[in-house]
């Protein structure tokens, strides 16, 4: 039981992929860093992701989740300026009584109790949670056998407990696809993966490696309308979905007998700590609204990773963590120039579901913009329109909703005096609608 540390330059909330990178970057920029992690080890959800495929972009290697996390843990251990606080939860952030621009966080740590941390900046890296059965309002009883894919993943990979033998998966999010393969490896019969949308929700590479390689059928425009069974799941009712209304088509209902239903129906940024500081949330991403430095609308509070918006790859989460950590350190150490708050507003244009940052400070020299499309476009252009005039476009072989697009803007792309940027995804050569 160590004595509580009560002051640091940067407090990182969450010790998963985003938080570890943020901590490393902040420390490497010269900041003293505390990482609050509620589990008894660092790594976050990476610890239960024992499949490989992590680190391809960052390290050119196909690492497992724990291996990937171990690299970042070693990196912060090497810096000497990062102290992890394990089994510690951040209860709230208080920015109301700023003393010299500092933020006070209230924490509780196992065996340590309640304590305050005074810090110059915060990086929120709390990750995300899975959408549940209740939120998609599937009818039926409440038997055992219905789990979110991540919960079942934790039970098999950490606790060595397998949830069932005949499996239906609703939702083609990446965790659902990974679990389709994982359950198959354990001998279970994965009957099918159903997806409400007419496009898969997960990465194309996971469709190929987790479903196609094992002959697991993927039924698009199909959903689960109810579950059967009182004590244990006995079956589910599937129905076709009308792509226009996204509602089940009456008369197409059919029963499939199974003992397990895994749900991979979306991830939602975890904003509980952000909410205590009154951080503004973007309804499109579900995460905080940020500027190009990943700073929220509460000065000194930065955010990265799946708490900001749900990513497809841990590599990109880490990348974003590095940006947020470096910027938080600069803020805490007083190395950022004065910022004008009458920034440029970034909006979602044609076929764009969400974009970060939601605003850009004037004078920013480099901006990393991350966006998701609403629909699939083969041979696409990502088009940037500044105050109604096309400023730049980037060509992509294919843009799909399940894969986040990243584009980099320079100062030259942001003409002096513009107020509004609008980003769209169109067929190559086409002009965005309504501009």
């Amino acid at each position: 039981m160590s004595a509580p540390v009560r002051s640091c330059d940067v407090l990182v909330v969450g010790g998963g992929a985003a938080g570890l990178s943020a901590a490393a970057a902040a420390a490497e920029a010269g900041a003293s860093v505390l990482v609050a992690e509620r589990e008894d080890r660092l790594g976050g959800i990476l610890n239960q992701c024992i499949h490989n495929g992590f680190g391809l972009h960052r390290f050119g290697l196909e690492l497992t989740g724990p291996e990937y996390a171990a690299r970042d843990v070693a990196r912060i251990a090497g810096s000497g300026a990062v102290m992890p606080l394990l089994e510690t939860s951040v209860l709230s952030l208080d920015t109301s009584s700023r003393q010299g621009g500092r933020i006070t966080a209230k924490l509780v740590g196992r065996g340590v109790g309640l304590f305050d941390v005074s810090c110059g900046a915060v990086v929120l890296a709390c990750g995300c949670r899975e959408r549940t059965r209740g939120q998609i309002n599937i009818a039926g009883g409440r038997p055992a056998g219905v789990y979110t894919a991540g919960t079942a993943q934790r039970l098999i990979n950490v606790d060595g407990a397998l949830v069932g033998r005949r499996v239906v998966i609703l939702g083609s999010g990446d965790i659902g696809l990974i679990m389709a393969r994982r359950m198959t490896w354990e001998g279970a019969d994965v009957l099918c993966v159903c997806e409400l949308a007419s496009e898969p929700g997960g990465l194309r590479r996971n469709i190929a490696q987790c479903l196609d390689d094992y002959g697991i059928p993927l039924h698009l425009s199909t959903t689960v309308t109810q579950v059967f069974g009182k004590v244990r799941l006995e079956g589910v009712e599937l129905a076709d979905v009308d792509p226009a209304t996204r509602r089940p088509v009456p008369g197409t209902e059919r029963r499939v007998d199974c003992d397990t239903l895994l749900l991979s129906v979306g991830l939602i940024p975890s904003n509980e700590v952000a909410a205590t500081a009154g951080v503004g949330i973007d309804r499109r991403t579900g995460g905080p609204s940020v500027d190009e430095s990943l700073e929220t609308d509460v000065p000194g509070i930065f955010v990265a990773g799946n708490e900001l918006h749900v990513h497809d790859l841990a590599d990109y989460v880490s990348e974003e963590g590095l940006e947020a950590g470096a910027n938080a350190a600069a803020h805490a150490l007083g190395r950022r120039g004065s910022r004008r708050d009458d920034g440029i507003v970034v909006e979602c244009g044609e076929n764009v579901g969400s974009v970060t940052p939601q605003r850009i400070a004037r004078g920013a020299d480099e901006v990393v913009m991350r966006l998701r499309s609403r629909g699939r476009v083969q041979d696409a252009d990502i088009v940037l329109v500044a105050d109604g005039r096309e400023a730049r476009r980037w060509r992509r072989r294919i843009v799909v909703p399940s894969e986040m697009q990243t584009v980099k803007l320079s100062a030259a792309d942001l003409p002096e005096g513009i107020g509004r940027l609008c980003v769209g995804v169109v067929a190559h050569g086409a002009s965005p609608e309504g501009e």
Binding site: R110, R129, N137, T151, V163, E272
Partner: protein, 479 residues
């Protein structure tokens, strides 16, 4: 045994607690692995104002008595109760006569604090109510409670005062033999008791029909609900009912005593007693009806849907007391709404009849007080410091959404009525009741139950017998 109580729902547990005041041997026989497995937990959690039951019925009598007892019991036994008041809203002038009927019943039932209010006062009280509403009936005396917590409170206090609870004990029959009741259990064993209290919820009428020739009809009625996130708790202060119309009562929208918002129920007849599944059409109807009360209803804020089976009888009233041809067998049957509100008063009467029959004396060691288990989420900072100093397990949060500490989960597992399943833990301390619905904490709770009960993870149950959460080990997937 002096008394065998069949069923550990609100009625059985309230009677057990009343009988624990006396020097008697009392056993509660419950088929589930927890108390309140049936209608006692799957209901609206309303302490009804007493203006709805038809004057002169048992419902009218016990509702009025029960609602006056509950505030004091909530303090004494430590369960959540709030006197938030209720409103029966009229969405058009055509609804007003129905409201006047209720006002008349309130007068006849001796209920005070009930009055008509106009549209402006209604909007002042509840700005989120449908702006079409033309007025409402305000009942100041009604409230909300945590019906599960209330049942646990009765049960734990009864257990602390010497009542035995046998879980997983399913009663299959009762017969009278040599002046005693012989209660047969599904496992082949028997319990002999001088008196039986039939508090078997949705099965109570079937049990009654086994022992009495005065046969009653059972008409179980399903009610479907959706529960909304904590963020919606403040949308309404009062419990909002709709004026009853030709198509029934409409759904209610109410804050819950636990900090959520509840919407429901519908009323589906012709179901089996154990049928507690929601249906797509039922949930759709509930949501449609909710929008009539609350146009801004946002289905994205739903965290869970559930259904309960109300143990309705044929004539609409409770069946309370001893059938003429079954001496010593006390029914609490057809105990549907307002059963939660009425249970404390019914329990007083049933216990008094039992005491008289048995010539029982007060137990001088009886202690009627029970502390509400503390919740980290609800503590102030000084309380948290004090709790952690007393028990360091308060400093480790298990459930992030509801800020439930390890100490609370351990306390539930080792309580006088132990929580031995994931659902039992969830219902006591709310681990898994938040937005993520146990996505993160369920495996942690499973691990804790495995450790504390000394059983393999594979044997940990969601709720009922046979509901193992992860029954297999690695590689056992092949069937």
């Amino acid at each position: 045994m002096d008394v065998a109580i069949i069923g550990a729902g609100i009625a059985g547990c309230a009677v057990a607690r009343e009988l624990s005041r006396l020097s008697l041997d009392v056993v509660v026989l419950e088929e589930g692995y927890d108390v309140a497995c049936g209608a006692s937990r799957s209901n609206s959690g309303i302490v009804h104002g007493g203006y709805d039951p038809v004057p002169g019925t048992r419902k009218a009598l016990y509702n009025a008595r029960g609602m006056r007892m509950i505030p004091g019991l909530a303090d004494e036994l430590g369960f959540r109760y709030s006197n938030n008041g209720s409103l029966v809203i009229a969405l058009s002038d055509q609804d007003l006569p129905a409201i006047d009927v209720l006002a008349g019943r309130a007068r006849a039932n001796g209920i005070e604090g009930v009055r008509r209010i106009g549209a402006d006062e209604l909007r002042g009280l509840e700005p989120n109510v449908n702006p079409c509403a033309v007025g409402a009936l305000l009942c100041e005396g009604s409230g909300i409670c945590d019906p599960f917590g209330m049942t646990v409170a009765f049960a734990e206090n009864a257990a602390t005062n010497g009542v035995t609870f046998r879980m997983g004990a399913r009663v299959v029959g009762a017969s009278r033999r040599g002046g005693l009741w012989d209660v047969a259990l599904a496992d082949g064993s028997h319990v002999e008791a001088t008196l039986v209290v039939n508090a078997a919820g949705v099965h109570a009428i079937d049990l009654h029909n086994q022992v009495s020739s005065d046969r009653l009809a059972s008409r179980p009625r399903l009610g479907e609900y959706v529960l909304m996130s904590r963020d919606m708790h403040g949308a309404f202060g009062h419990t909002i009912f709709r004026a009853p119309g030709p198509k029934g009562k409409g759904v209610l929208v109410s804050p819950t005593a636990d900090g959520n918002l509840i919407v429901g129920p519908d009323a589906v007849d012709g179901i089996g007693p154990d049928d507690t599944a929601t249906t797509p059409s039922g949930l759709e109807w509930v949501i449609e009806q909710a929008r009539l009360t609350w146009p801004a209803f946002d289905p994205r804020e739903i965290i869970v849907n559930f259904a309960g089976t109300r143990p309705c009888g044929a004539d609409g009233d409770f069946v309370i007391g001893e059938p003429a041809d079954a001496p010593g067998f006390f029914d609490i049957a057809a105990f549907d709404s307002p059963g939660i509100t009425s249970a404390p008063a019914v329990a007083v009467d049933v216990a008094a009849w039992a005491a008289e029959r048995l010539g029982a004396r007060p137990d001088p060691a009886f202690d009627g007080h029970r502390d509400m288990p503390p919740r980290f989420l609800e503590m102030g900072e000084a309380e948290r410091e004090e709790a952690i100093a007393r028990d360091p397990a308060f400093s480790h949060l298990v459930c992030r959404c509801e800020q439930v500490s390890e100490a609370e989960v351990l306390a539930a597992i080792h309580a006088p009525i132990p929580a031995t399943t994931v659902n039992a833990v969830k219902r006591r301390c709310r681990a898994g009741m938040g937005r993520c619905q146990g996505g993160f904490c369920e495996p942690l709770v499973v691990e804790m139950l495995s450790r504390e009960l000394g059983i393999p993870i594979q044997d940990v149950l969601l709720g009922e017998p046979g509901s193992e959460i992860a029954p297999l080990t690695r590689g056992e997937g092949r069937s």
